[in-house]
């Protein structure tokens, strides 16, 4: 059975792939070549920089989309039944979204130390 759809997931897979080819290189070089030792101070310190938090968020979102979209396209190749396919699409979407939220929690945990970020969040987080 052929289905309409596929252009946007196809394009998204290539767009995130191109970004990841660049982003993963930066990620690995920053952590394993520049910082060398991966300890708590180094990682948490990096996450108090707004630029790194922004970059890491893009990397996180692109990685999850690329990975889940890729696994999904493998699943579609098994030509699943309509109802089963809908159920799995919800499971995959919820799992991917949960992973994005969970990963963002780590990025946000140390962003509280960034003055501009604290200001944006308001007095509850010790800002203005």
């Amino acid at each position: 059975m052929t289905r309409k759809s596929g252009l946007w997931p196809w394009f998204g897979q290539r767009a995130t792939g191109l970004f990841l080819a660049f982003g993963l290189l930066v990620h690995v070089i920053k952590i394993h070549v520049i910082d060398k030792e991966v300890d708590f101070g180094v990682v948490a310190g990096k996450l108090t920089s707004p630029g790194w938090v922004f970059f890491d968020f893009l990397l996180l979102a692109a990685c999850i989309y690329h990975g889940f979209n890729g696994v999904w396209s493998i699943y579609l190749d098994s030509d699943p039944e309509g109802r089963e396919r809908v159920v799995w699409s919800y499971i995959a979407f919820v799992f991917g979204a949960a992973l994005l939220v969970y990963g963002s929690m780590a990025l946000g945990a140390y962003a509280k130390a960034i003055p501009e970020f604290r200001f944006a969040l308001g007095p509850r987080w010790g800002g203005g």
Binding site: R14, G17, V43, L47, G67, S78, L99, G103, M105
Partner: protein, 139 residues
């Protein structure tokens, strides 16, 4: 074949396609999928472990303890294999993207050989880079 559970059905059809009509492009397709599955599995673990360490435990002692536990040769070899998956998946993915966007299907077979050579060269560089670390580690 039709009544099988879908992961088994996928494996069966992949094996059939691979061996009944063997060519290099089919092999690279299979490896792209296999490495993609491995990398997605790693991604879930990676986000799970790092986020739990940073956002849930939140302390230097626990985080550093987990990192310290990973400093051994078995994990390092697994990391090198992971890098191998990343490097091949990335270079082969770039090849597919370039062929898709610039209509280079006539060149794609030749480009697969370049992908293989570039993967080997990059891996030699990676192994050369981690050798000192491997040497100073305990088994």
């Amino acid at each position: 074949m039709e009544k099988m559970w879908w992961p088994l059905r996928l494996i069966a059809s992949t094996v059939r396609d691979t061996f009944l009509n063997w060519h290099l492009g089919q092999g690279s397709f299979d490896i792209q999928r296999l490495t993609g599955l491995i990398l997605t599995g790693y991604l879930v673990m990676h986000i799970g472990i790092i986020s739990t360490g940073l956002a849930i435990w939140g302390g230097a002692e626990t985080f550093n303890g987990v990192m310290e536990a990973m400093h051994n040769r078995v994990i390092l070899v697994m990391e090198i294999l992971l890098i191998l998956c990343v490097v091949f998946h990335m270079l082969n993915g770039l090849r597919i993207t370039v062929v898709d966007f610039f209509s280079l299907s006539k060149l794609q077979n030749k480009m697969l050989w370049w992908t293989g050579v570039a993967t080997i060269l990059l891996m030699l560089y990676v192994i050369w880079g981690v050798l000192p670390r491997f040497a100073e580690m305990a088994g």
